[in-house]
Amino acid sequence: MSERESTELTGAPVADGRGEWARFLLTWFALPSALVIALLIGGVMMLVLGANPITGYVALVKGAFGGSYALSSTAIQAVPLLLVGVGICIAFRASVFNIGGEGQIAMGGLAGAATALAVPDLPNFVLIPLVLLAGAAGGAAWGAIPGIFKARLNVNEILSTIMLNLVAVQVMNYLLAGPMVDQSPDSVGGLIPETKVLPANSLLPILVKGTQLHLGVPIAVIVAICVYVLLWRTSFGFQIRSVGLSRRASAYAGMPVRRTITMAMTLSGAMCGLAGAILVFGSISHRMVTDGSLTGFTGSAGFNGIVVALFGGLNPLWTIVSAFFFGGLIVGGSSLQVATGVPSDLVTTLSGIVVVLVVSLEYLRRRARAQSSALAGPRVASPPPRPRRDPPLAVSEGGDR
């Protein structure tokens, strides 16, 4: 996507021989080839573990995309990935690394659940928007902290977000086992760290009977489209991307760099918080439950959202596709486990490999670009300067980190 833009900006791509071909290949096939390599590695792993990779992958695809029930499960699984993913798009486009998705999701879930339990009697057309906004606000607050630290005090946001994840998990455990715990007998009198059953008015309505498809799915897609518009069709979005490309140049152009960084991080947190609220109000148990770890509540969406955003080229629209795909991988992972006996953790393993491959191929892609422009250089009268592509992956240029 961003490649297309850079050609828009620089005019038609320069026709050339080998360099251009390599560049074309790397640009359009880098992400798919990362996936293919990862799936091949996964196949080898299955072979080594004594399973038939073809059986495994067929089961995975069927479990993820075969039939309306599978598709709806995949869509549900994709919602937190998508929301975290678009949040990551915002942050990474501004060259701030939000690794704190996990904590922001938990905070969003807690804020939403607390709101629903505080005002349970409102009608659903008021309560549902209210709890979702509360969730977004909770996540935004948790994202604003590292944003302000980064903008004002130049505290490394990778570290502060990781630390805030650790604080969030304990706050969640404390609240769910203490002040927010269900004291009623059907939860064994407060021994299980979970909230009361949430008011029915606050639950996301099911859209298609016989499936789990709830209102969260269209909401997430609409939010993703809005974020796309925000990033590419508004002056604020331009500021975010400009700050991401070069803080110094943006400051020189008179942009409020610090405020933009804080806002990008806050918005990113808001997306994760919304994901948390949707996890709570679209849950099957109709409660917020913890097993004492963040993953138990988030399903690692805070980390997997990074994978999804990267795979979507940090473009919110492609992130929709990518979230659906990775949601399918997660859902299909269980079917794979049933069919072959290979634990579904294989999917997490493969996600990790995909991330490593994507960022590694990025360098080859950059180099192919540099070579092709060097080759093309003498032929064009005055080659226009090529803007750097994909700012977040070239963040070391970003200035003062």
């Binding site: 690794i99 490394n156 805030l164 994840n165 604080v167 980390f303 953790d345 997490t348 360098y363």
Partner: protein, 310 residues
């Protein structure tokens, strides 16, 4: 509170605090070496998980604890090769590739554990070894000098790493490459070679950290580390890239962790409040980051892949 301040409880608390701090210390020391050369390795947690599993599996199958610890260190070294290839040679964005390594380690260790072991059985852990004479000192002996060999090794490595970084040619090269790789390069220091070596060394330390974590509990479980590797990365900043500072931070984490556990089991603080108390080290680390960010500067080339100009 009174039952906490007895000789026995205090001795046990401090002794196990020191042991609990060992994985943090080993991982953070390794990370320090890498970061001083300019490489940010965020995959420590994943590497620790893989190493802990390797240690567990070898101990379970052979019963040979030395071999098990070596398997952990070796796993770390192998992951070091992968990390160096990605971060140094392929010049990937280190903040993101580290998350990839983490996810890989998290998933793969869980996969292997469930496939190869299934029901977890405890293994024999490294026995405590008393240091002659020193162990018989009242109070102090029981706290410091009845630990396992891996614990002694970790604390011995603190002065060793400090010496290597500050007093040897290799250490000078590491720091030069981390501060100004272009200048080091122009003087004939191979930036890539130095960084490869520090990353592999650092990841081997992370492997030992995983082994020591496993030896602390004697049993493996999915996501055994509970983000300890990420904390170790933060401890490097906390300790301002100095081995002694890193040790102080690790001890803080180890001791606070054990004190909270002890208080919980003695009923000094209620169960639910212990969760809140457990945030103390993380909050403290964030605050420390706030103050340290102004006083200490990170290695200038940290996280920036080196590319020769021209």
């Amino acid at each position: 509170m009174n039952q906490f301040f007895t000789v026995d409880v205090l001795t046990v608390t401090i002794a196990s605090g020191i042991a609990l701090a060992t994985p943090f210390l080993l991982a953070a020391l390794g990370e320090t070496i890498g970061q001083r050369s300019g490489v940010l390795n965020l995959g420590v947690d994943g590497i620790m998980l893989l190493a802990a599993f390797a240690t567990y599996y070898v101990a379970l199958k052979t019963g040979n604890l030395l071999l098990a610890v070596l398997a952990g260190a070796g796993t770390g070294a192998i992951m070091g090769v992968v990390t160096a290839l990605v971060s140094v040679t392929l010049k990937a964005e280190q903040g993101i590739s580290g998350i990839g390594i983490y996810l890989f380690g998290l998933g793969f260790s869980a996969l292997l554990f469930q496939k190869l072991v299934g029901t977890p059985l405890p293994i024999a852990t490294l026995p405590p070894v008393g240091i002659p004479l020193l162990e018989s000192i009242p109070l102090i002996g029981g706290m410091f000098f009845k630990q396992s060999l891996l614990v002694y090794l970790a604390y011995l490595l603190v002065p060793v790493v400090a010496f290597v970084l500050n007093r040897t040619t290799y250490g000078l090269k590491i720091r030069a490459v981390g501060e100004n790789p272009a200048a080091a390069d122009s003087l004939g220091v191979s930036v890539a070679r130095i960084r490869w070596s520090t990353v592999i060394l650092g990841c081997t330390f992370a492997g030992l950290a995983g082994a020591s974590l496993l030896m602390y509990g004697g049993i493996f479980q999915v996501n055994l580390t509970q983000s300890e590797g990420f904390i170790a990365v933060a401890l490097v900043y906390f300790g301002a890239w100095r081995p002694v500072g890193v040790m102080a931070g690790s001890l803080l984490y180890g001791l606070v962790g054990v004190v909270i556990l002890t208080w919980k089991s003695l009923g000094i603080i209620p169960l639910s409040a212990s969760d809140l108390a457990a945030t103390a080290p993380a909050v403290l680390t964030v605050l420390a980051l706030l103050f340290l960010a102004r006083r200490f500067r990170q290695p200038a080339a940290l996280g920036k892949p080196y590319e020769r100009e021209g």
